[in-house]
C-alpha cells in the first residue's frame, strides 16, 4: 500500500526471533525529492551464468536426477506499470527434497542429496519471461522449540536495471503456510507469492508452477 504522508512502519514476524532482533523500530523516513533519484541503484547487466543452470533437477546434463518431484517454475517479470523487465538476472536457491540447503552454514543435519545443488541463475528474455526446472523443496523445522515449520519455498532474487526484489515462491495448499511469519505479515496479499499449478504434459517434469513477479515501487520504473 503506497502512502505519501509517512513511511512504512515495518512489522515483526510472529515467532520469528531474528525478525525481533533486526526489524527497525522507527517508522521508515520519507526521502526528500531532491535525493529521490540517488536511491535507485542501476545494476550493470551480468551474465555470470554457467550452462544448464536453468535445470536445477540435476547437477550437470549427464548426471542423474535429484531425489524428489521435478517441477518447472515459470512466469513473467514486470514493473507495476506492466512493463516487462528484460535481461534481468534471477538468482534462485532452495532446499532439497529433505529440506536441506547445500549452504555451508546450514547446520540442520538434514540429508544431503549428491545430485542436488539448489542453485540456479536465469536471465529474463525480451518479454520478461523466465523458466527453470528444479526439485520441489522440502519443508523444514525452523523452530524446534515451538514446532514451527518453514513451508516449502523457493527463494528468488531479481536484479534488473533499476528493479530489485528478493522474494519467495510458496506452494498451494501447504499446511505450514498459515503459520509462516513472513506469510502472516503479507496477509491477504500472500496469494500473490504462491505459485499457480499448471500441467506439463509435453515436458520432463511432473508439475508446473506459474509465478509472475511484479516489482513494486518507483525504483523499478525510474528510468523508463
Amino acid at each position: 500500500m503506497v502512502t505519501r504522508d509517512q513511511g512504512r512502519l515495518l512489522q515483526i514476524g510472529p515467532t520469528d526471533n531474528t525478525s525481533d532482533q533486526r526489524t527497525p523500530r522507527q517508522r521508515l523516513r520519507l526521502i526528500p525529492e531532491a535525493a529521490r533519484a540517488s536511491f535507485v541503484p542501476y545494476a550493470p547487466a551480468r551474465a555470470m551464468i554457467r550452462p544448464n543452470e536453468t535445470d536445477m533437477t540435476r547437477i550437470a546434463p549427464n548426471r542423474p536426477r535429484a531425489q524428489g518431484q521435478p517441477i518447472e517454475v515459470s512466469g513473467t517479470l514486470r514493473s507495476e506499470t506492466g512493463r516487462p523487465v528484460a535481461g534481468a538476472l534471477l538468482e534462485v536457491w532452495s532446499a532439497n527434497s529433505f529440506g536441506r540447503y547445500t549452504h555451508s552454514e546450514d547446520g540442520s543435519g538434514l540429508q544431503l542429496d549428491p545430485n542436488f545443488l539448489g542453485l540456479g541463475r536465469i536471465i529474463t528474455d525480451e518479454a520478461g519471461r523466465y523458466a527453470f526446472w528444479t526439485i520441489s523443496p522440502g519443508a523444514y523445522l525452523a523452530r524446534p522449540d515451538i514446532g514451527r515449520w518453514r513451508p516449502k519455498h523457493i527463494h528468488i532474487s531479481v536484479t534488473g536495471g533499476s528493479s530489485r526484489l528478493i522474494t519467495q515462491m510458496y506452494f498451494p495448499r501447504e499446511e505450514n503456510n498459515a503459520s509462516d511469519p513472513m506469510a502472516i505479515l503479507m496477509g491477504d496479499g500472500f496469494v500473490r507469492n504462491v505459485g499457480q499449478e499448471y500441467a506439463t504434459p509435453d515436458r520432463d517434469v511432473d508439475q508446473g508452477y506459474r509465478f509472475d513477479i511484479v516489482v513494486g515501487g518507483r525504483n523499478a520504473t525510474f528510468f523508463e
Partner: protein, 201 residues
C-alpha cells in the same frame, strides 16, 4: 497518487526475507571490490580509493550474521552510471558504482572509490541491506570530512540527533593507499540507524 493512475497499477509481489542462506556461490568478485577493474590490470577508476569498514548490529548490539549488502554510488566526479546519464562526459568507463558483498559475521570491508558530490548533494553511498528476519531496508551513508554534509537535503530531512548516525568517520588510517572510513549500522533499537522508504517515497 491520483486514482486514474492507480487503476492501471499491478499489485506488487511481496518482498520476502532473503533468509540465512543467500548462496555464497552467487558471490561475484567483480562486485565485492569496485575500487579497481581487476587485480591484474594497472588501469582502473579515477578517484580516491576507500575502504568502508562497518559492522551491522542487531538490537542487542550483536553482529548480525549472514547479511547481504548492496552499494550504489556516483563516481569520483559525482556522476551516476544510469541510462539518464548515457554519454555524459564525466562518466568513468571503469566505474559502474554498483557493489555487493555478503558478510558471514556481520562485519565487512567494502573497497570502492570515494564518491564525488552529485548536483545538490553531499558525497554519499546508498546502502541496501538484506538479511534473515527482514526484507529490504535502505539508507545512505556520508563522510565526516565533507563540508557539503551541512547542506545535504537528505541529512537535513532528519532530526539533528539522527544525522550523525549516517556519517562514516575517517578512522585516521590510510591502508595500502585506501582511506579507511568506519561506521556502525544499527538495525533496530537504541541508536537505530535511520532507514528510508523507497516504496512510499
Amino acid at each position: 497518487m491520483d486514482a486514474d493512475v492507480t487503476l492501471n497499477i499491478l499489485p506488487a509481489t511481496n518482498e520476502d526475507t532473503v533468509g540465512p542462506y543467500f548462496p555464497i556461490y552467487f558471490e561475484d568478485p567483480e562486485l565485492m571490490d569496485i575500487s579497481r577493474l581487476h587485480h591484474g590490470l594497472v588501469v582502473g577508476p579515477e578517484g580516491t580509493p576507500m575502504i568502508l569498514r562497518a559492522r551491522v548490529l542487531d538490537r542487542h548490539k550483536d553482529l548480525a550474521n549472514g547479511v547481504l549488502l548492496e552499494f550504489w554510488q556516483a563516481n569520483a566526479k559525482g556522476v551516476y552510471d544510469t541510462p539518464d546519464n548515457a554519454g555524459h562526459p564525466d562518466l568513468d568507463p571503469w566505474f559502474h558504482g554498483y557493489g555487493r558483498i555478503r558478510t558471514a559475521s556481520g562485519a565487512f570491508e567494502f573497497k570502492s572509490i570515494k564518491p564525488g558530490a552529485a548536483l545538490g548533494r553531499a558525497p554519499c553511498m546508498t546502502l541496501t541491506i538484506f538479511s534473515d528476519g527482514i526484507s529490504r531496508i535502505v539508507t545512505q551513508l556520508f563522510f565526516d570530512d565533507e563540508p557539503a554534509n551541512a547542506a545535504d537535503p537528505l541529512l537535513a530531512s532528519l532530526p539533528p540527533e539522527d544525522q550523525g548516525k549516517l556519517i562514516a568517520r575517517h578512522d585516521g588510517r590510510t591502508r595500502d593507499g585506501y582511506e579507511v572510513y568506519a561506521i556502525d549500522i544499527v538495525m533496530a533499537g537504541e541508536g537505530e540507524t535511520p532507514f528510508f522508504d523507497d516504496l512510499a517515497s
